[in-house]
Each structure stands twice: as structure tokens, then as C-alpha cells.
Symmetry: C2
């Protein structure tokens, strides 16, 4: 094959990758908004906003399908080298993480609608909104780190997830207290607790996007001892994973 | 390329696929045992068995990594056609589903250890064990359906997941009652409720393995209206997804 053909194929492959990356960023933007709007709907008890988030998740799912098809097309068409293949396959993992985060945001919106029918439990809705905003900011940075192949930013995202875990542990204890104090809070607390746990899980998925960035930039996953599932201490009354 | 070379490459590719499929089945076997043993540890309050399940999850994670590497190697080496590629990429999705199910089983085992330090809550542990056994049986059938490309069996697995969702809704209501009746049950019920929810989520991941089988046999995913996330009715006091 001549250099010119070689270059031609290489640049066509790069254009394919950029097109797929653009789909990832589009998907990421939709998911970021879903997190923010679902948490706001919970805090302001806005059933219409919650309904809009629930309807919006279908677009996120369609984008994941589109990305999967593009990836299969590019692999079949360009037969990438092992190194290029790593980049393409990381796209599949990231789009799958984004789809899961979108599902959790949709679930948060559904529970927000349920909770409009119940008494508010202390200031838990605004605490949960702050927790969701932290996760949304981490997601934005994880996607920026992906586009810029910025390992330092990816590692920073990983570290910030520890704060999300701490927020979850604190709110878990608060819910137990609310339920003990007044059994009429129990059903609402069950839903609020799921929102807290699912928001903490969104943080885990953001962390695995950051892990992919570290993998792409360094060629290996972050040190096992730093990896999410092994790092979180086991607590009798706190987060258990 | 001569037919002989062609055949040679085709059969080498088939051998690669069979090797990867063997890894999937090995991973599936470990995950099936983890589900059974974690649920048994919960029912018999057996901390040692729970600890063994927790330690065992690392082997499941290593198998997923190995499968990912094998898939990348095969794609780079054999440059499969679009049709063959569909089979290879489905392996990535299935191994990722198995890894998640393994994580949930590990989480179940961790909570089982926590719960040995608390009063049992009614007969919930044996109800949860039955729920886990249903999911384990579905997983076994989903993997058999994958190996035999058995669409009918895959669709049967999807249908049985509805029963798991019903089990979850029933136990959710039971926990609310237990907590209302005696606030000393609240902390234990929070953990038991997570076990129920995570077991229901295991069923969702088994269902998406079944979806992959349908995709491989029919060329398209199951009818949207039958897909898990759209099929489950929204309930104020039941499963919300």
C-alpha cells in the first residue's frame, strides 16, 4: 500500500473516530441535563419537569444504539490496529456508562413524581440536589478529560467521587433517624434513600468513564488499590458495595 | 485468496470464538455459584460462606478482563466481517452483564454479614433466597440459550423476569410493614431491601443477556414494548425504574 493510500485510510479513520466522539459528547450533554433537571424536579416538587426527564431518556438510549452501530461499522470498514481498536472499544464502555447514568436520572425523576404525593422529609431534597450537582460536575470533567486525553483531570474526578460516597453515608444515617423518629416518614425515606443510592451509583459510573481515560492515556487501568469497588471501606451502617 | 486459505482463516476464527465462549461459560458458572452461596449465607447467617463469596468476585472480574483482551485480539487478528463482528461484540455485552451480576452477589454477601449482627426480620431471608434461586435458574437458561442460539428459551427467560419483579414488589411492601410495626427493624430492613432490589437488578442483567441472544438469532433486539425498562409498570409503592 502506498503512503498516500495509507494516509487516506488513516485520516478517514480519524474522521470516523471524531464523528463517534461527537455522538458521545451529545449523549453526555443530554445525560448532564437529565441529572440536573431530575434533581431540581425533586427539590421544587415539579411533576412536569420530572415527566420531561422521564420522556427524554429515550433519546439517550437511541444515541447509545447509534454509537454501537457506528463502532461496529468502523471496525468492519477500517480493520483498526490493536492500538486504534482500544480507542474504539473504550467508546462502547463509555456510552454504556452514560446510558446507565441516564437510567438512574430517569429513575430519580420517577421517584420525584412519587414524592410530590408525600410530606417532605427535612431538607433531604436539597441535600440530594447538591449531591446530584456534584456528580453532574464530575461527569462534565470526565468527558472533557476523555476528549482531551487528560489523565490528571480523570484522576481528579476519581478522587472527587469519595466525597459523593461520604454524602451518601451521611444521608443514609439521616434517613434512619427520620424513620425512627416518625414512622410516617418510612415510605418517603425508602424512595429518598434509593435516590441517594442511585446518585452514588451515578458517581461510580462517572468514575469508570474516568478509568477509561486513564486506560487510554497510560495503557493500563488505575491501580487496583485505587479502584472504586475496592477502595470504599465496608461499613455496617453505611455504603455497602 | 484461495478457498483453502479462506477456510483456514474461517476455522481459526471459529476456534477463537469457541475459546471466548468457553471463558463466558466459565464466568457464568462462577456467577451462578456466587448467587446461590450469597443467598444461602444470608438465610443460614453463615459469615464464612459470605466472606468466601466476597473473595471470589475477583476471579469473575479477572475473567471479564481476559475476555475483553481476547475479543480485541481476535478482532485485530481476524478482521471479522460485520456479521461475525456482531457475535464478537455481543460477547463484550454479556461479559459486562455477568460482571455486574457478580458485583450484586458480592454486595448481597456483604449485607448478609452485616445482617448476622441484627435480629432476623420475619422470614424475609428465605423469601430472598427463593428470589435469588429464580434469578440463578434464569441466568443458567440465558447462557444455555446463548450457546445454543435458542431464541425461544431466551424469550422464556425474559418472561420469567416478570415474576422476579412481582417478588420484589411484594417484599418491598412487607418491609414497609415490618418497619412500621417495629422501628428496631428499620436498619435491618434497609439492608434487606437493598438485597431485594439488587436481586431484581440481577434479573434485569440476565434479561439483557437474553436480549443479546434474541439479537444474535433474529438480527434485531426484542420489540421495544417488550423491553425490560419499558415493560415494568410504574407503581407508587413498588418497583420504580
Amino acid at each position: 500500500m502506498t503512503d498516500m493510500q495509507d494516509q487516506h485510510i488513516a485520516s478517514a479513520y480519524d474522521r470516523d473516530l471524531e464523528a463517534i466522539q461527537a455522538l458521545i459528547m451529545k449523549m453526555g450533554g443530554l445525560v448532564e441535563d437529565a441529572i440536573t433537571n431530575a434533581a431540581r424536579a425533586l427539590e421544587t416538587r415539579d411533576d412536569e419537569m420530572a415527566e420531561a426527564v422521564r420522556r427524554g431518556d429515550a433519546a439517550v438510549d437511541r444515541l447509545e444504539e447509534q454509537i454501537n452501530e457506528e463502532v461496529a461499522r468502523v471496525i468492519a470498514l477500517r480493520a483498526p490496529t490493536a492500538r486504534d481498536l482500544r480507542v474504539v472499544l473504550s467508546v462502547l464502555k463509555i456510552s454504556s456508562n452514560l446510558e446507565r447514568i441516564g437510567d438512574y436520572a430517569k429513575n430519580l425523576a420517577k421517584r420525584a413524581s412519587v414524592l410530590t404525593q408525600m410530606q417532605p422529609v427535612g431538607d433531604s431534597a436539597s441535600t440530594l440536589r447538591r449531591m446530584a450537582q456534584q456528580v453532574r460536575a464530575m461527569l462534565k470533567d470526565a468527558l472533557d478529560a476523555y476528549v482531551q486525553r487528560d489523565e490528571a483531570l480523570a484522576l481528579d474526578v476519581r478522587d472527587r467521587d469519595v466525597e459523593v460516597d461520604q454524602m451518601y453515608n451521611n444521608i443514609f444515617r439521616a434517613f434512619i433517624t427520620h424513620m425512627m423518629e416518625d414512622p410516617r416518614n418510612i415510605t418517603a425515606c425508602m424512595h429518598l434513600h434509593f435516590i441517594a443510592k442511585n446518585t452514588e451509583r451515578m458517581g461510580d459510573h462517572v468514575t469508570s468513564i474516568a478509568d477509561q481515560v486513564v486506560y487510554l492515556t497510560t495503557g493500563s487501568m488505575p491501580d487496583e488499590s485505587r479502584q472504586k469497588k475496592d477502595r470504599t471501606p465496608f461499613e455496617t451502617h453505611g455504603a455497602v458495595r
